[in-house]
């Protein structure tokens, strides 16, 4: 079976203006949402206590809320988690109460609602640790981008390197933007997923770049735009197919992996859809706009090592 019996001849780059407008709109919406609505940050970053309790039978959230209120937790939020038998309670940090005591007392309050209550999970993060995790998260994103920038510069060329990083920033912004727009809880696993998106989206971009480089060296005729177009078409079936297989496993993870992994799977699904789009429309366009030309990718004496030798062999 083949989706594309022949190499396609879609003129992707002629539509680059539309793509530019589309991407700009996505980023604008994301940024506006991030500024106005912000992220629905989990306790990993804000600090606080989270208690997950499992009951033998369905429980009314109203009962849980009133029990918590009686126990002195005024601004506790309770919601069902996965099923109506599971309840997830979030508590803001309480100044004059020992962290250890908060979760114990909240659980006891819920035991009064129904004695079948079973403690499934407690997460407590002190405000200070929350700040540190936020800082570490930001640094992690920054450092992985720098690492990638360096690697791509060494292996390819700085315009492509910048192009790939522009695509990455695009993907990360839009992914986080979606989390802000729909107010999906943003916790540590989601952050890990965002980093995985960086790796994945780059993977796609690199594969296309590899082909662009190869074609720049091989094809005598053609403008950079034409050659880039050919390269995108040659890699189209691979780009779509790999995204498809990865999306399939992620959807399996989303559906069967349990409530706890939902945010993680969601971030990756969004990221991979965006990443696939950006590897076609953003990364290459950006490199071309930065003035990528044939001469930039011609082999230099120094470059003839390692994997690149293989490239040029028939």
């Amino acid at each position: 079976m083949e989706f594309f019996k022949k190499t396609t001849h879609i003129d992707f780059l002629s539509k680059r203006k539309y793509a530019f407008v589309f991407s700009a709109a996505l980023i604008l919406i994301s940024l506006v949402s991030l500024v106005t609505r912000g992220l629905n940050l989990g306790i990993d970053f804000t600090g606080g206590t989270l208690v997950e309790v499992g009951f033998k039978q369905t429980v009314e959230l109203a009962n849980v809320r009133s029990a918590l209120e009686q126990a002195g937790f005024k601004d506790a939020t309770a919601q069902h988690f996965g099923t109506s038998k599971d309840v997830l309670v979030r508590l803001a940090p309480i100044a004059d109460m020992k962290s250890a005591a908060i979760s114990d007392q909240a659980f006891k309050a819920m035991q009064q609602v129904d004695t079948s209550a079973e403690l499934r999970r407690v997460e407590f993060v002190g405000p200070q640790v929350g700040d540190e995790l936020t800082e570490d998260g930001g640094l992690a994103i920054l450092y992985s981008m720098i690492g990638i920038l360096i690697y791509v510069s060494l292996r390819f060329e700085y315009r492509l390197s910048l192009g790939s990083v522009i695509a990455l920033i695009h993907d990360v912004t839009v992914t986080i933007g979606c989390f802000s727009l729909f107010q999906i809880p943003f916790d540590l696993p989601v952050l890990a997923a965002v980093l995985a998106v960086i790796g994945y989206s780059l993977n796609d971009t690199i594969v296309v770049y590899d082909r662009i480089r190869e074609n720049f060296r091989r094809m005598r005729k053609g403008t950079p735009i034409e050659i880039t177009n050919v390269s995108l078409n040659q890699m189209l079936s691979r780009t779509l197919f790999t995204s498809l297989t990865t999306l399939m496993v992620l959807i399996a993870l989303f559906v069967f992996g349990g409530e706890i992994i939902h945010g993680f799977a969601t971030a990756l699904i969004i990221g991979i859809v965006i990443g696939t789009y950006s590897s076609i429309y953003v990364a290459s366009t950006a490199a071309l706009m930065l003035g990528l030309s044939k001469a930039d990718l011609m082999p230099v004496e120094k470059e003839g090592e390692g994997g690149e030798v293989v490239d040029d062999q028939p």
């Binding site: 083949e2 022949k6 190499t7 962290s99 250890a100 979760s103 114990d104 079973e118 403690l119 499934r120 999970r121 407690v122 997460e123 407590f124 002190g126 640790v129 570490d136 998260g137 640094l139 992690a140 450092y143 992985s144 690492g147 990638i148 690697y151 540590l188 696993p189 952050l191 890990a192 980093l195 995985a196 960086i198 790796g199 994945y200 780059l202 993977n203 690199i206 594969v207 590899d210 040659q234 691979r238 197919f241 790999t242 498809l244 297989t245 990865t246 399939m248 496993v249 399996a252 993870l253 069967f256 992996g257 349990g258 706890i260 992994i261 993680f264 994997g307 293989v310 490239d311 062999q313």
Partner: protein, 617 residues
């Protein structure tokens, strides 16, 4: 064309075989078990095994197996109810002399165990357990140290009869005020001689002469390091008392401690244990009265009956010489004269004075160290919560006073360097060196852990099945070969995780799922390239060759960038996130092998060395 040399085929086969072998332990069931180990004076032996077996038989608990290995007894049970029942039974049967810990043990055959094969190490989010991050109040530790120096200097000057006007502390320094310069100079010399680790400075002001003793940044660093180490030791001792298998207590950064207790299901109890206070006391041994009489209930007034850690009774004087608060440091080493293992103890000023007086009067007599811990345990009685204060007292060492001593002294007569080390730890660990606060806690209940595993495994299977279906339909024979590679890749990841005993977490499983999706990417790249070559009119054999060759650098580049992300994640992430980074990195590495070398080997075996008209791709 398209043939691997024999060695390469053998290498592929060998890697797959070894991988399968080390992944194998994960297929065996994990039995709820109990591990019994000896203490200092009681080793486990065949005799202990007999006692344990008999006790279990009497209680009507059926054990799946009782084995003695590496001086530890491992008992397997059919269910965790049996395991919990047996805990009480065995504690009664063996008493104080043995440590027991509940654990899970895979039911491995001996030949597999002898290869060192073990199942994957599951993270707390999968097996259930408690993770606690503890912050040590370093400011308080430094403040305490300065307070102690202030006291010591005051005592020193008083003893040496140097009159001072005032001793106060100021920032990281102790400030002593004198009336005239002569007294100040004498004090300066004395303090300098006694406290070599302080920086001593004279300060002159109008009508006032000062000595300023400053804790250097180096000394402050030492104080902090000591406080952290001492707290870790204290916490380790307390956690060990909980009877949890594989507890982990680690330093994180320069003021944090991570405590991880797999399977521990009572966070409230753990937090009580961590918050317990403990202290040490030095007392003289009562040699005038008979221990046997005391054991039989005739304890002489002024004395009290104690037990050593191995249960031996000892009679001690009620009067306390020094307490643990007065110990400023304790370390183990070798006695310079005899070369025997020894523990070196330093006392503060007040403690030193009392110790000097008591030892002067009691040369040749034995002295004991008593460890006292105050615990609060809450139990539920008739539906009500009852808090109970518990005092645990035990004698950790008895030694003869050879000569009078004061501030610094050493304890010899220990059995081994190990014992010296333990005693030094205990002396230091008596009390927490600085207040602690729990700043992060994550508890996963056992049922959630089980659900997480079940759901994780299910999504791996379903994701894999979907990918394989597509690959098979889309690339036919080549797709099937790629599917084989995906399956082998999964086995390899499991084998690597088992060999490294890296922690598998729920995000780690997600990492495996993701790798399954990404592993076929290498094959997609190769196969698309082969199709392209075929379209360009190359022969099937040449297309296979060119497809693999040309796709290689692309695959390499794409994977290295993902690897960079995995490394960043590993260095910045904590716990579960680290698990994700590990499986992602391992998955990428092993997929390079299976997707490129592995599939090529199979393709070569099938198509190589013969005329091929068309490829099934």
């Amino acid at each position: 064309m398209n043939q691997y040399p024999l060695w390469k085929n053998i290498l592929v086969l060998l890697v797959v075989l070894v991988g399968s072998l080390y992944a194998l332990p994960n297929l065996y069931d994990q039995d709820p078990s109990m591990e019994i180990s000896g203490t200092r004076r009681a080793d486990v032996s065949e005799d202990t095994v007999k006692r344990v077996t008999e006790a279990l038989q009497q209680a009507g608990i059926e054990a799946k197996g009782v084995t003695l290995r590496d001086a530890k007894i491992l008992i397997r049970f059919k269910s965790s109810e049996d395991q919990l029942k047996a805990q009480d039974v065995i504690e009664k049967a063996l008493g104080y002399d043995y440590n027991q810990a509940l654990t899970l043990a895979p039911d491995l055959p001996d030949w597999l165990r002898s290869l060192g094969a073990e199942p994957m190490y599951l993270g707390l989010d999968l097996r259930g357990g408690i993770y606690v991050l503890i912050d040590v109040d370093m400011d308080a530790a430094v403040a305490q140290a300065i307070e102690r120096y202030t006291d010591d200097i005051r005592t020193l000057l008083r003893n040496e009869k140097v009159r001072y006007l005032q001793v106060s502390n100021e920032g990281n320094a102790v400030l002593v005020k004198f009336k005239d310069q002569a007294k100040r100079d004498r004090a300066e010399q004395l303090i300098y001689k006694e406290f070599r680790n302080l920086k001593i400075e004279p300060v002159d002001e109008a009508n006032a002469y000062y000595v300023k003793a400053i804790l250097s940044p180096n000394e402050i660093r030492e104080v902090k390091k000591f406080a952290l180490n001492q707290n870790i030791t204290t916490l380790r001792n307390r956690v060990n008392a909980l009877g949890v298998a594989e507890p982990s207590i680690q330093q994180q950064g320069d003021r944090r401690i991570v405590v991880q207790l797999p399977g521990a299901q009572d966070p409230a109890k753990l937090k009580e244990m961590l918050g317990a206070t403990a202290t040490l006391e030095y007392r003289l041994v009562d040699t005038e009265h008979s221990v046997e009489d005391a054991v039989n209930g005739r304890v002489p007034p002024g004395s009290k009956l104690y037990r050593e850690r191995d249960g031996q009774p000892v009679l001690l004087k009620k009067r306390v010489i020094v307490t643990g608060n007065q110990i400023t440091d304790a370390s183990s080493g070798l006695d310079q004269r005899t070369g025997q293992p020894a523990v070196f103890v330093s006392l503060d000023g007040v403690g030193a004075k009392r110790m000097r007086r008591m030892t002067n009067e009691n040369v040749g007599k034995p002295m004991a160290v008593v460890y006292i811990e105050n615990r609060t345990t809450s139990t539920t009685v008739n539906g009500k919560e009852v808090k109970r204060k518990e005092k645990v007292e035990e004698v950790i060492s008895v030694a003869n006073i050879l000569e009078p001593f004061g501030r610094r002294f050493q304890t010899t007569g220990l059995d081994s360097t190990n014992e010296a080390h333990d005693l030094a730890l205990l002396l230091r660990a008596g009390a927490l060196a600085a207040p602690i606060e729990i700043v992060e806690e994550r508890t996963i209940g056992p049922s959630l852990g089980k659900d997480n595993i079940a759901q994780g495994v299910e999504s791996v299977w379903i994701g894999m099945a979907l990918v394989m279906l597509f690959m098979g339909v889309y690339y036919r024979l080549f797709g099937m070969v790629a599917n084989l590679a995906v399956a082998v890749n999964l086995v390899m990841i499991v084998a690597l995780l088992s060999m490294l005993q890296a922690t598998l977490t729920l995000p780690g499983i997600a990492g495996i799922v993701l790798t399954v999706g990404m592993a076929v990417d290498a094959n997609v790249l190769i196969f698309e390239r082969i199709r392209e070559e075929l379209r360009n009119g190359s022969s099937p054999q040449a297309s296979i060759h060119a497809g693999y060759e040309k796709a290689f650098s692309t695959i390499m580049d794409a994977n290295i960038t993902t690897l960079i992300v995995a490394i960043v994640l590993f260095s910045f992430g904590t716990g579960p996130i680290k698990g994700f980074a590990v499986t992602l990195a391992l998955g990428i590495a092993s997929s390079m092998f299976t997707a490129i070398t592995g599939t090529r080997a199979v393709i070569n075996l099938y198509y190589g060395h013969r005329r091929v008209k068309a490829l099934s791709i």
